[in-house]
């Protein structure tokens, strides 16, 4: 197996996630796109760990999973707070700090 096949798949996932973060209206969907990006990073870390026979990549992938769990918890709490105050999860409607 080539190293590049995993890296290319991760690149595709990352780019799709970038599109989702920029283009989606729904706050929950933006968080899901961020999950796509973090998973692409994890594939890269594990692929390089397998390539070099080192464990550091897998350890850091575990850390990324833990940080992603924390991020989803706080992110969904923020979306819930926005929904309670604005009665919408459309992120275009939330422009309190727009200059």
């Amino acid at each position: 197996m080539y190293l590049n096949q995993f890296l290319m798949l991760a690149a595709v996932l990352f780019s799709v996630g970038v599109y989702g973060v920029i283009a989606r209206k729904n706050g929950v969907m933006v968080l899901m796109s961020i999950e796509l990006i973090l998973n692409a990073v994890n594939i890269n870390l594990v692929a390089f760990a397998a390539m070099n026979g080192a464990l550091a990549g897998q350890v850091f992938a575990l850390f990324v999973i833990a940080v992603a769990a924390a991020e989803v918890g706080v992110g969904l709490a923020i979306v819930l707070a926005i929904f309670r105050n604005y009665k919408t999860v459309d992120i275009d409607e939330v422009d309190l700090m727009k200059g």
């Binding site: 190293l3 899901m32 390539m51 833990a66 769990a69």
Partner: protein, 176 residues
Amino acid sequence: MIHLLAEASPSYAVPANIAFGITAVLMTYSAIRVVTASNVVHAAAFLVVVLAGVAVNFILLGAEFLAITQVLVYIGAIVVLFLFGIMLTKAPMEGEERPARDNWLLGAASGLVFLGLLVYALWDGFGKDKLPADLAPTSTGALSDAIFGSYLFPFEVVSLLLLAALVGAIVIARRD
């Protein structure tokens, strides 16, 4: 894919490559559906497919413990959290005609440009690099030795971060 199969060594690589090809196609399709689906529950279901595909990739790369953690934490916990988020915020998004903002074209352009740059850089940098043919699964014991040995301090910091995120989520989301 065919010439890639022919070049690979016969013993382990061919079934692994077939498994990779199937999951790669499924993951790409599902990822695109995640960001384009107008129904958020369908998007969550496609996200499950992507996350399971990532777990398959971890197994192909010999990271068994990470694959199990992926299934437990992502598919077991995070997707359920997403479904709760969808359930608690769903009502006004029902019947929306367009899931995308006005700047979706900008997002598609930046995603494509980014993908092109990445593909070029990866092809240039790792063009013919092969994974070791005798890719043995990482033993969970060795991984735990690494976590509780040389990476003990970052591990404790991550656990503290999880605690802080837990408290923060409760504070942000609770009704006053």
